[in-house]
Amino acid sequence: MSKRTARLETILDRNPRDPSSLITVLQDIQKEFRYLPVEVLSDAAQALNVPLSKIFSASTFYKAFSLTPRGETIIRICKGTACHIKGADLLLEQLESALNIRAGETSSDLKFTVEVVNCVGACAMAPVMMVNNKYHGHVRVDRAVRLAKKG
């Protein structure tokens, strides 16, 4: 058994092996591998008795899933209404220009991924950005890149 299959097996063991576990299993794969590797998906399809096409459809429908590898540091810019009117776009632009990637992309050295999320629910501290699940509120443009690079 390859290492990858073993990692998938532990995920599958936590859930009932039927189609209703699909989303939970995908979430666990995403957490384990930081993205959804195609080979793992096809193994999961067999185990859950779900056609691969349906797995692809779910992986592209839900925003939490990524079919391409993601960076070590995940930077999320909140674009909820409050953050939007308080200048979330500026933060995004600063990051895009400093890291030389667009929103949704990962830097070629796999260090950074920049994502846009529609509201993280910390509107009172707008604009908000998240660096690896840590929230930063009232972020000014001049702080965005520094916070991101600090990790």
């Binding site: 189609p19 979430q27 308080k86 500026l90 529609n118 501290m125 929230y135 443009v141 001049d142």
Partner: protein
Amino acid sequence: MRIGTIDKLDKFRAKCERQFKAQKKKIIVCLGPGCLASGSDKILDEFKSVLKKKKIKGITVETVKKTGCHGFCACGPLVVIEPEGIFYAKVKKIHVKDIIEKTLLKGEIIEKLLYTDPHKKSKKYTDYRSIPFYKYQTRISLRNLGLIDPDEITDYIAAGGYAALAKALTKMKPQKIINEVSKSGLRGRGGGGFSTGRKWATCAKVDDEPRFVICNGDEGDPGAFMDRCIMEGDPHSILEGMIICAFAVGSHDGYIYVREEYPLAVVNLQRAIEAARELGLLGENILGTGFSYDIKIIRGAGAFVCGESSALMKSVAGEIGEPRAKYIRSVVKGVYDKPTVLNNVETFATVPVIIEKGSKWFASIGTEKSAGTKAFSLAGKVRNTGLIEVPMGMTLRDIIYKIGGGIEEDRQFKAVQTGGPSGGCLPEGKIDLPVDFDTLTKAGSMMGSGGMIVMDERTCMVELARYFLDFLVSESCGKCVPCREGLHQLLILCTKITRGKASENDLDLMEKLSKVIQVGSLCGLGQSGPNPFMSTVQYFRDEYLSHITDCKCPGRSCRALITYTINDKCNGCVACISVCPEKAITGEKKKLHVIDQDKCSQCGSCEVVCKYDAIDIT
């Protein structure tokens, strides 16, 4: 330990209360999302580590308590000293020693940490209950936030938790519970405003089994965070409401669907479920009454449309969250095609209070057709941003000026956006409207889940409509054409306006198209999708026309229509040069800087960092 009978629960409660009251002094650190974003977790740790080293009589590490959102996020991180209610705002790690040494040991108040009234600069408040932000609120669904530790079920029980469940299970028949909820006038807090009692009654009558009770914790509306705060800060109130509902409609299984962006809510809810199960308040044979009900958490995977009931139920079953036409209601055929009650977080959190205090008490609060209170997340360009709860019928003006403290920097109020992407914007002329389900809908907006975003003169309403359309286009599931294609075309036309490249015909076309989308879409996302455009064009038509005919943006925010220049107030501090992403600004230290207009992308970063008011926008 399992509590096998109601009597034992009462005894256990008495013990919890004694424990809770025994800790007279409490240092409460708010761990709500707002305070957390400004580092309140570090303050909590600091308190604990200082108290571990220092021996003070009557004050131990246990005196420090973490709670969910206290509400006043604008002043975060918040520390409250009970029982006096001393309110310290914007606390930093370096203040911790001072608070312990001065306030706890000597009873002194630290003036500089108190909240100061922005209108009367000298007025400082010691007790938080006297601050206008708190004074005008009535808290029902948020009753325990800021008071109890969400991880301690004993705290919830000491605060009167699970008493309503005991009452419902032993002293009330299912039908009586449904009647009580119906008579209270409680309407669904998720946005629809449908009578909760009626929903339960219909489900209970359907001749099919099993029945499900689901809590909708997919708070996707940008600008809304009250469900998040309840799930993180008072998870047991949701569980209690759900169990009561399950007993009333005869359900034995349920789910809480939590959106992907709220990982802490999942953790806290899971912990609460386990604690309730361990005490026998959830699971098999609840409190020895023979009634069984259990709850499982389902994590969303990032799809706004999954907040819609039929899409949510698909997603619960592990499928793609595409909504269906609802000619058969989900109370009849819901999850796995079985009868399902789906209510949102705030609704379930309110239920125990109604059962405990009675429908008359609840119906006496609020207005005739919108009973009770409503929680709002107040954000945007208002001074006192945060989480609030007010009786229905309070005017927008009172909410924004009395509780919200008015507009930041004393700018002019322009509009308030309620109801998220499904809602609309209300202008100054509507500011004296009472806030309830029907009045807001009549004015072209809606209650929605309760996001309230205040806008000042510097917000462009066309750009705001474009923002919502952009959001909806990316969140449309794509199943039906009017929503998928229609919203996309609306976005194209709206973007054209913000770039100064549209004609009045485009505006007419947008209005016609909006009506088609409203009528033709399958679910609420599409049907209400044009609302932000429709309400802004209704109240701010001039602003649209000024973009179209004069190519001017009155809010000075549409990039294609504005120019940034540097005036002679510039003292050459180079702050703007360092942030300009286009490297369009040049100049030497202590000398006037210049913006190269060919390179400038009008992002406005320079304006944000300029301390000398030296950036002009024309």
